[in-house]
Symmetry: C2
Subunit: 493 residues, 2 copies
């Protein structure tokens, strides 16, 4: 989840100055509008590991906003008054009035996360508590409270370094640094905390109150991104827009700031040594055959998903996988336009009917992800429909994973230049010409839209049970071996 | 939950003939309309204890509908094909196409209920499975599948009798009776099953797919009620209406058939022996004082809710309770129109801020139920807002209950004649005149609307942790003693 937040997000001093000037003016305008209307309250929940700069973000927002209409709501250990009442009472007590903005440090997620990371809650109890939280947040939303749930994402080592600095600095100012997670001083404990946080973000990102994971390594980018999210919410609230009521699905809290695509982090020029290729291919195929004919595999099952750019080499890769499988026990499903039968039923029906028997392999050459890729980009699906698809897909794959299936998903990525070369090659060779359609040229023009949709897809659906693997595919041999190796290693694990 | 379904619901032969004639014609019209549009599929899930007549209902619906456009989907023990795939696969496989109606016996609720009643699932695992089910059902709804979730409610002894008869009868026809719950032959096992079912109905009644609990003792009423629910859904689907998307809250699947009010089951003429009153009052008050000053009470807390007809005697009853309490440790909250402060925040805020400290008592003279009573009847709240209030209130009271508070709720009921007598009395006596407002007379004109709202309120919010107590209040002394006794007994338990 949120792979893309781990990419470097930086802003130069000049970029920040420009963004800040723009934000200050617009934030104030929108804030006064909301204050005058008294129709909506805004709560900005600022969460993240210590050292990611939660306090700094709050200070920055105070700089940008009219501070008479803002209040900080900060929760640490409960007081006696609070302890004498149900846990939710203190958050209710401090609820900001309509027209006002509350900046929340230590929100209701905190106690839950802590108990989960300290292993005081088992999975089921945690899930229940999260569902209860979802219901409360939905109720707030319907009552006119807009929630902005922010997780400041920072590499652990970096956070520790910044924290050490912050302590020094704050010591000089005689102001205590905001330390929320004092109990998680050991690296192992922090890892458990991050795990619990990811689980929470995955499960409680709803259409009405999605999480925004904000890369926090660069304070300038971090503050501008948070300011931008707040601005969007204020503007929506001022326009009287209620958040979508149609769906509990994951929506995209997209910042207007430039976001790097996941492909930008790949080294597409990776190549495999052509001489060693054949031998390694055979070895991997042999391991795949062994793993899928082993006795234990009969209670399991394998679902392979291939997505990627047009002409990225899905077909050839699938062939190398297929060769290693017992032909009675696999099936390749190409995804074309839905039939009448399929159109008459819910979207996922055509994939459910192709769920393999246990012990079999289903290979999907394009898949249920069509809804959040082509259907989204081409406008074949309404936003509320593709937005809820993220959660439905996660649920579908979780059902497969929890009943013993292995779900392995690949995105085959090539560069725009490589794609052009392959298209031209297809045009020239008569036996390849059938592979190229006018659609392919049209999709190519929307390259950046597809790339943004792909990045969000992977951010939202790379779950712990069914993670995505990005495959550098400019070199076909490299791609094939990486795919086979990934499958074999997941099967053998 | 669903107290009112336990009242006798009967139809004479003549009433049924009239209802049937009406239903047949309209069902066919609506069915053909839906079939032509091919926009919505309908699934009628028929659940209930064995003997309640699930099979009979299906047969009856076939009589009334065009049977080419209907299919029965019946699930028992999974077949080998089904066992080889995830549990949800068989339901997906059989999904009726748009334009068609599926009558489902043994729906996805069945396996869950069974595992819960056999204690194979603990509370948390059950809750999680129910939430997953809610998400799936919501997805179906958004994909154009209308679910009608029916629970046929029948007294256990009666169901057993009917079942014995049915076995005989069906034996003669050489047709097996539909026995879904063969493992629950012992009365104790059946009680656990009913418990698990109630829990499920309470937790999975959402705005988009609410349960309808249909009284099934009288086959005529039962069939007419189910037919009526199907008709409403078909007509909505034909009109292109999507079920409310705004809310996951409990909606009211109200049948157009006459429904007895919960008050009709009360004997309002109950009286207490006036000579013994004073003595018993003192004795109960003494027990109340003891219970609320006991050491254990400091970790608990008491929340009392008084609702009822105007002039039902809430004030006098509250006085008798109050007299027994330590004045430093209780507070009476009258509920008037919300203040500006309150209006600027979510509805439940003004009640949350009055949640007592542990060890204290809060008495609410009218309460958060205003939203589903006066605000509903007078139109102060939009339907989607009062509909979601049922679930929000259940969540609120559950949070109180789970953190150790005792929530005790009373409905004080008087007859229309008694109310008139008391109004006239108030008009005549100058010192009582302030108690009577023009509103009281206006509300009186909407007596039956208030009674229906009250019945639904009690059906939807009488939970296991916070049940309602109906109080026959024509005789004030009887009412006061019943209230005190209920509080004392719950405290002592």
């Amino acid at each position: 989840m949120f792979e893309s937040a781990r990419l470097p997000h930086v802003m130069t001093r000049e970029e920040f100055a420009a963004a800040e000037a723009r934000l200050r003016e617009r934030l104030l305008d929108a804030q006064f509008e909301v204050a005058e209307q008294k129709r909506a309250a805004i709560m900005v929940l600022i969460n993240g590991s210590d050292g990611a700069g939660k306090g700094e973000v709050v200070n920055r927002l105070y700089d940008w906003l009219d501070d008479h209409l803002v209040e900080t709501l900060s929760y640490g250990e409960p007081t006696d008054e609070e302890r004498a009442r149900p846990g939710a009472w203190r958050y209710w007590r401090d609820m900001p009035a309509k027209g006002r903005i509350g900046l929340v440090l230590g929100s209701w997620h905190h106690r839950l996360l802590r108990n989960r990371a300290l292993r005081r809650l088992d999975k089921n109890a945690y899930d229940n508590a999260l569902e209860e939280m979802i219901r409360s947040e939905e109720m707030l939303r319907l009552e006119g409270v807009h929630l902005i749930k922010i997780w400041l994402q920072m590499d652990d080592a970096e956070a520790q370094k910044r924290l050490a600095k912050l302590r020094e600095f704050d010591g000089a100012l005689r102001r205590p640094a905001v330390i929320e997670w004092a109990e998680f001083d050991a690296p192992k404990a922090r890892a458990r905390l991050i795990d619990a946080a990811l689980e929470m973000i995955e499960k409680t990102s709803t259409g009405g109150a999605p999480w925004a994971v904000v890369p926090a390594s660069d304070p300038r980018y971090r503050d501008a991104a948070v300011g931008d999210l707040l601005l969007q919410t204020l503007q929506q609230a001022a326009a009287g827009a209620e958040p979508s009521h149609r769906t509990r699905a994951i929506a995209a809290p997209a910042s207007a700031l430039p976001r790097p695509s996941l492909v930008s982090a790949l080294d597409l020029s990776r190549k495999h040594d052509p001489d060693a290729y054949a031998q390694e291919l055979r070895a991997l195929q042999r391991r795949l055959t062994e793993a899928t004919t082993a006795k234990g595999f009969r209670d399991s099952g394998l679902v392979l998903v291939f997505e990627g750019n047009d002409a990225a080499g899905k077909g050839g890769t699938i062939r190398r996988v297929r060769e290693a499988l017992d032909p009675r026990r696999f099936r390749v499903h190409g995804v074309a336009a839905p039939t009448d039968e399929e159109r008459a039923r819910p979207y996922l029906w055509r994939f459910w009917r192709n769920v393999p028997r246990r012990g079999d392999v289903a290979i999907f050459d394009r898949s249920w992800y069509g809804r959040v890729l082509v259907e989204r980009v081409e406008g074949f699906a309404a936003p509320e429909d593709w937005m809820r698809a993220y959660q439905e897909i996660n649920d579908f794959e979780r059902q497969l994973g929890e009943t013993g299936y292995l779900v392995v998903k690949f995105w085959l990525a090539i560069s725009q230049e490589e794609q052009l070369r392959r298209f031209q090659d297809r045009e020239e060779k008569p036996f390849k010409r059938y592979k190229l359609t006018p659609d392919d040229w049209r999709n190519r023009e929307k390259w950046s839209l597809y790339e943004a949709a792909m990045t969000e897809m992977i951010d939202r659906t790379s779950s712990r049970l069914a993670p995505w693997t990005m495959v550098e595919a400019n070199d076909k041999k490299y791609a094939r071996l990486k795919v086979l190796r990934t499958i074999v290693e997941r099967l053998e694990a």
